[in-house]
Symmetry: C2
Subunit: 462 residues, 2 copies
């Protein structure tokens, strides 16, 4: 038979034991922090009806959705009726609409599950990746934004990150700025798309792109000048350099001042500025204000955001470790009635990438599963070894049992290659006296013990 | 805008917080037991290349695979190049072939992930469901079978199941029995398919089906008579009634004797009987022999099994809680070189179904996330409440913060509806004196404390 390819599908990954342990470690900490902030777990299916997803992520998003063929006799139509989850936010909105009567008035949920996007794979960009989301449904208070920033930030801190910055902005403030600069409404999306490339193509490149998109040069000039004056033209990574709390608070206050000046009496914009001010105030009360930087140029792609936008960056990493925002209208698409909502998503893959690069995993995460390996002396003594393994497990130890009566040297070598700390032997002599020989693979020390005291001895030394 | 449907896709489920907590509880115990047996975690992508899966699960399996449309310009071809994971065994075989040099000689892995099958949904049958698999690769020893039975059995025991039976059989023994009965090789699969319906259609129904499938009546009669004599015609559920250890061991010994008699000098069959005998012997050493019953009629559907077949049943449940077997040739389909392998899969959904029906979840699994809810006295005191919530979290408590300055009665009612045990209030008086009022929602008792001792008081009472 022709051999099938053994690689995982393009852009997807197998996780061998050490990989899984690292992922579980990170997920465990994020989950614990999210729970401490009062969030409750939710899980949704990997597969959604295709109409649930289409049209929620913009034109580009539609292209990146993995679509599932109809089955049985309908397969040959080549049509899709299902699709793979593209993010955790749209399924949440569906869930809130479906179970509204069973959920609390303020639904604080976390969800840590994979999503799938048919993006071109690249270094650090996969087609299957985990998101770790927190969202609060049902409240318009900026307490939500502050708490979400605190939760995401604390998760990173607990993982060992010391130098991250949470940039915040506001869709309505952005609109206010664009209006004030004189960008007509039908060109605002274009203007933001162009602005988003500032990092890559520089001020002149953006000006050219403005022209190409039919944005009047004076309006484009106004806009670029404002962002320049607002001091937010730097690359995100530079923004992430930590300053003292007082400096950060002063910087944010100054930016709020400039925004008020520029946006003027633009109603929605002014309300947005007030909301940013509230977030800063609550962040001060929480004690995380030096983490938070207002960035008037921040404009995250997703079309469903209506208010605050947030993003977490660390220095030396293009792209973010996570982001989120307020989306007060998304649930309405399913429920027919708006429910205020705000959320944040930490990107597991990026976090693990940085932690691996920087050696941030504790040593315990790398250790082998088994505390002890039980060897097999001979075919005749298999039952003895099987029983010993079981006794040690009953004492709570993680026990690997060698499964063949190979030469003892080979069995020891195997235990050593696996990094297992203890190995037991029941030879002829030990068997007669109901004893066990126990070797400490780290020190090389070997001693013979009464069978019933082996577990205690291992537990003591681990 | 027309509202999209809010239901999950057909045959799939949303898991609200309590559902997730139950699932996590069960998965946590299974994982802990598997680790105690020395298994290490593996995870594979939800999506596989379509050729990896096609042809591994028989004709019916092929039909039930969810296929993913090609993307971009290829979408309109209506062709699929990817598919959703159908079980955890085929991906494991692929992984073993791909990473052979990096994996230990004996690769003991567990994997707890969802799989997808386009089966017709029914009560307890879903299109997305979790499997909890353990497999040992690289060993032909029956120690593997015994340990896998012990691990699966211990997981069920730890979850509170007291009355399960692990039925075992062997593909080669089955072949030996069929050969001895005079069923020609090209009719053996048909004979097993018919036999599998014995529960539903009875002996006469099976005899009719034999005839319809062109199986000679004397051969069919031989076969049915053997199974009748072997006392294994009862419904699986009846087989699950617990007997004493001695009775079970005697029954198994008697069955082995009958098999030896019937199969005679059929070489592969005799070797299979020896293997069953070894499993029983090791199970005795482990102390689980009263759980294990040889069942010569057991014939699990999957075509890749080559040796032992196993299945766990509880009384009063049609179908099994899990099953597995030995598949020494599957890795060879990917590697071009056989690697002995044996595994077992516990079905998470069935386990949760039975545990829910029987009220087997501990009370702690039902509890709300938050230990305490912090109320908001007024708009002016938001910062105080935000800060208090943060202080309590720093002490390790799980804290929900109400996000609006609603009337206090409303906030208390909300906490009560959520089942949160403690509620804090910082009113005007408390604020002046740096105190906090703490209400125990279970007793109704309320007291005013210095702010710094609130966390300790809550932790003491939880």
């Amino acid at each position: 038979m022709a051999q099938a390819s053994t690689q995982p599908a393009r852009g997807m990954r197998d996780f061998l034991p050490l990989d899984v342990r690292r992922r579980e470690y990170v997920i465990g900490i994020i989950r614990e922090v999210y729970e401490r902030y009062g969030f409750e777990p939710l899980e949704t299916p990997a597969v959604e009806n295709i109409e649930t997803l289409m049209g929620k992520y913009g034109e580009e998003g539609n292209q990146l959705i993995f679509k599932i063929l109809k089955r049985g006799e309908h397969e040959k139509t080549g049509e899709a009726d299902l699709a793979l989850r593209y993010d955790l936010t749209v399924p949440l909105a569906r869930v809130v609409a479906e179970y509204k009567d069973r959920l609390p008035k303020f639904f604080k949920r976390y969800q840590i599950q994979p999503v799938w996007r048919a993006d071109r794979p690249a270094k650090g960009r996969y087609r299957e990746f985990y998101q770790c989301d927190v969202d609060v449904l049902g409240s318009r208070s900026m307490i939500v934004e502050a708490e979400i920033c605190a939760a995401a930030g604390e998760a990173l801190t607990r993982l060992g990150f010391t130098n991250f910055t949470i940039r915040i902005n506001h869709r309505q403030v952005l609109t206010g700025v664009l209006d004030a600069a004189g960008i007509p409404q039908d060109k605002q999306t274009d203007a933001l798309v162009a602005l988003d490339k500032l990092d890559k193509i520089g001020r002149e490149g953006v000006a050219k792109e403005f022209a190409a998109r039919g944005i009047a040069s004076d309006a484009g000039y106004n806009l670029l000048s404002f962002f320049e004056a607002a001091g937010s033209l730097e690359h995100a990574a530079e923004l992430s350099v930590i300053e003292g709390r007082a400096e950060t608070e002063a910087l944010n206050a100054a930016l709020l001042g400039r925004l008020v000046e520029f946006v003027g009496d633009h109603e929605a914009g002014a309300r947005g500025i007030d909301e940013l001010r509230s977030i800063i105030r609550y962040a001060e009360a929480i004690g995380i204000s030096q983490r938070i930087r207002i960035d008037p140029s921040l404009a995250r792609g997703l079309s469903y955001y209506t208010g605050t936008i947030m993003e977490i960056n660390v220095p030396d990493l293009a792209g973010s470790l996570g982001g989120g925002g307020r989306y007060d209208n998304l649930v309405g698409m399913f429920l027919g009635q708006d429910v205020p909502a705000c959320g944040f998503s930490l990107g597991l893959e990026r976090i693990i990438f940085v932690m691996t690069e920087r050696g941030m995993f504790p040593e315990s995460v790398a250790s082998s599963t088994a505390d002890v390996m039980v060897t097999i002396w001979s075919e005749d003594s298999i039952a003895d070894s099987v029983a010993l393994a079981q006794e040690l497990r009953a004492e709570g130890l993680r026990v690997d049992l060698y499964t063949e009566a190979d030469k003892l040297g080979k069995q020891f070598k195997y235990a050593s290659s696996r990094g297992i700390a203890f190995v037991t032997v029941i030879g002829e002599e030990e068997r007669k006296r109901d004893e066990v020989s126990l070797k400490d693979m780290r020190s090389g020390e070997q001693r013979t013990l009464p069978r019933e005291s082996v577990a205690a001895m291992i537990k003591e030394s681990l």
